[in-house]
Subunit: 135 residues, 4 copies
């Protein structure tokens, strides 16, 4: 498991006074970026210099309590499935007081960036995913 910190900002809220629901995926993706970075894999390198990438083919989220501007968050990231060409990541989002405010899941498929074909998860990424899966 990997834990990322985040914070609800004005730009995450809408005129209903609380989080604009698609923005929960912002916390999810930021956490994913932090995790990748902690494994030495930057998105800038991935998309500009490497020959593979991975795209999101499915995303889902549950919302348990409303989030408001200023809320400090902890996002728990875990690899929940690791297949041949795809993998799934689960997220639990907690407020500073320990309340679970939401959960999410994303399914990713590895692709060849040139032809955008589905490919086997490259060893570099597989190793990183296996490590987090066990941790």
């Amino acid at each position: 498991m990997f834990i990322a910190k985040n914070k609800v900002r004005m730009h995450d809220t809408d005129m209903a006074g609380i989080l604009y629901f698609p923005r929960q995926f912002r916390f999810v993706h930021d956490a994913w970026e932090d995790w990748m970075e902690s494994k030495g894999l930057s998105f800038d390198d991935l998309f500009k210099r490497m020959d593979f990438a991975f795209v999101v083919v499915h995303a889902e989220a549950d919302y348990k309590t409303p989030l408001k501007v200023g809320d400090e968050l902890e996002v728990h990231v875990q690899v929940i499935h690791l297949g041949n060409t795809s993998f799934s990541v689960g997220y639990k989002i907690y407020k500073a007081d320990g309340t679970l405010t939401g959960t999410a899941k994303t399914v990713h498929v590895a692709i060849d960036t040139k032809h955008r074909h589905k490919i086997k998860i490259p060893p570099l990424l597989r190793e990183a995913l296996e490590k987090i899966k066990k941790s």
Copy 2:
């Protein structure tokens, strides 16, 4: 069914060159706003002047083909479940050439805006939802 038009903008993409996946929910919510508006229900009125609102408790999306800046979209909206206190909305997103690029579903719960309690879907909204369900 209700059909809304939209367009992929620079701010919907990221440095991977295609749609930043959470932004598909932007098209979903924009379509939902257009539909509500077509029924005479503005979000501004709802949240500022009425005593009820509805919050998203679940959201999910599938991504079938990558979207790029400038793509013209058609979002098909349908009410797929209408319960006592909650309702579900389904979305199909098509490109101008008819390609289905993604689908989504959102589950909404009606609440009392003052106390944020779950309430029965108010008649005003129920009627509008029933009409779209049959159309």
Copy 3:
């Protein structure tokens, strides 16, 4: 002058109940994308297939009346300066009732996408900019 249509969405507002101020630049950039497209210049082509691009080096905005969700907008775009390596674009944002709600200006510099050097505005873009300047 070029005129683009737009609409204030939930994702443009924040919990203060009105437009999150940086989002006025979203309307500005969308209008710019529409204008470019009307001249046969797509951003996808520019950044993926051509050898030049242009970056924003300065942006400014004035806010005259608050915008709320559902407001229909008309964005008037005009080239206000056309230099050797840079150009400036002015924007006026009106509500459907004719109220001027804000103005903006952006300054762009043409660059070589490979080395990110400042270059002379390429003929293709210069012609398009000259045409709009006179219109």
Copy 4:
């Protein structure tokens, strides 16, 4: 002066591969939120419980070097003008290596939240602004 930390995320970039320019104001506003919070003034309190607020009437930004995903930022915030009913805030944005990547300025006007009239800056806010101006 107040210093806030931030980080460039995928959602801040666009398909041109670097920061989508309006998003620099996201770092500006996040820093402003952090500063307000450090003075015990939360935006949630301001807009939901207090009788005053302040709106942005002018914003401007200069861009000196492109920002890419993963860049760690330091935003320096300073009150540069403190008038009767308005105040101006200046921002300098640095990368971790000390490069100045951009500057920005916002002009704010205090308003009565009920009638949205311009009012004198309330003592609570004036004190906080004076403190930061001297620091």
